[in-house]
Amino acid sequence: MIQVAVVSGKGGTGKTMLTASCAALIHGNKVLIDADVDAANLALLLDPEDLTTEEFFGMDVAVINQDKCNNCGYCEGTCVFNAIQIKGDYPSVISYRCEGCGTCLLVCPEDAIKMKPGISGTIHTAKTRDGPLVYGSLTPGSGNSGLLVHCLRQKAGKMYPDASLILIDGPPGIGCPLISTITGVQIAIIVTEPSRSALHDLMRLITTCRSLKTGMCLVVNRYDLCPDITSEIIKRAGMENVPVIGRIPYDPMVVTSIRKGIPVVYNEGKASEAIHEMVENLISELKIYGTTNR
């Protein structure tokens, strides 16, 4: 089995549009995961039919039993996350700040604090025309996105152990959810665009992928909007030994397709054409890792 993640550093460069297009064009036994759990949009392009929904429990949250509490205030002074505040007569836990460390339990002289599981979100599995999809959503105000990504990947592995390809739509950034997404993945498809911001973010992402020993290949989206920066990106990718597998031109058909809720490759046009070509290149790249039966 091979695992591929579509990532970008900078947000809004076209990860989801590209993931959905790859899902449509790569045949075989595959599973899709939407790991951009704070902004899970992949389902919007796949017309999914939900199969299962289960609760996702993140870290435990501290709960204070006010009948036992003597209002000494030790817990408030101990919490480094400022998650405990004295409100009225008693301390109370601001659950969205609580990281679940349990340090307040250690200092409470009355044994008035317990850790309890807090529902942090849901994990869904769905059937789509381009393969099964595993996606999640966080309860508003809840953190734990890195942990949820880990659980989504675990769920996909358990439900579809025979899949030959796991294709993951990744989160932006280079922090916890991104690291949780690319850990153990063979190849990251990095989607960038010709802007100073995207180039800066790309270089930080390459450093992060390298530190985790994740293989990389690059796609430049809307490459024709700023040819100078596109040349610079391609030069920098060459210096970093990251192969460029696609250049997608700006095409209003992309937004039109998103509005219709379908991957752009189901329409004709110059972006669609370039993505077809990119997927051919991707499949050759993947063969190096020994997989995908078309």
Partner: protein, 283 residues
Amino acid sequence: MQIVIASGKGGTGKTTVASNLAFVLSGKYDVTLADCDVEEPNLGIFFPCNPEVQTVQVEVPEVLIDRCVLCGTCGDFCRFGALAVLKERVLFFQNLCHSCEGCFRICPSDALQKKLVRVGEILTCRLSDSLVLVTGRLDEGDIRTTTIIRSVRKKVSPDPVVIIDSPPGTACPFIETVDETNLCVLVTEPTPFGLHDLSVAVNVLRVLRIRCLVVINRSDGNDELIEQYCTENELPVLMCIPFDFKLLNAQNTGKLISREDKEWYLRFSELGEKIMKYAREDL
């Protein structure tokens, strides 16, 4: 007052709005522009300068081998799995540690000492008499996003007018950025993706009791999707930024459109005044 520019979805134009807004408002107010998108901070690209650099460090445990009796108490306590006590030694996984300080308290042999480790930096630049840029930057490979955001917010908290560029998403980094601020401006785009992520962000801001305003970016005139949602949810739409190649080009090449173009200066000034009016109402 602290005003956050956020979006839910990445790449909708947070940085475009934050940078131009801070620039035009600095013509009238003392403004601090804070980059809390610490995983991918981009404001520095639009305001090149020689910053003063301050290291951000956190406290993590270091095992004193001669005192440790390998009892396993710290490993059992640590809910993040950052400490594992083996037969002959204790393993510490720095990337799992949250610096809660619990292990120091629970060790019965006083065998853990505090060690400072670097997780990122804060860059500060005075750009003009009335504009300061403070950028948080997480080290590559590290996961202490919220620690850096907390440090940036602490640094700018005494300043009179603070414009904060938020990270994308709606989880921990976003919450750390908007918590206890006065107002949040959500930048969205007129697509189903933009709408979905806008609605997630609005739901989080309701839990946090923070008022939100909306700016529509890359409008091609077909904004009904967003407008309808905003009407239903009583969210004021303050500005509609058209899809414009001139703006796109300035943004891509690292230029500030309101510095280059009088018309855009006026448009962002108008937005700035509207936002200041809402912010004052809220105080």
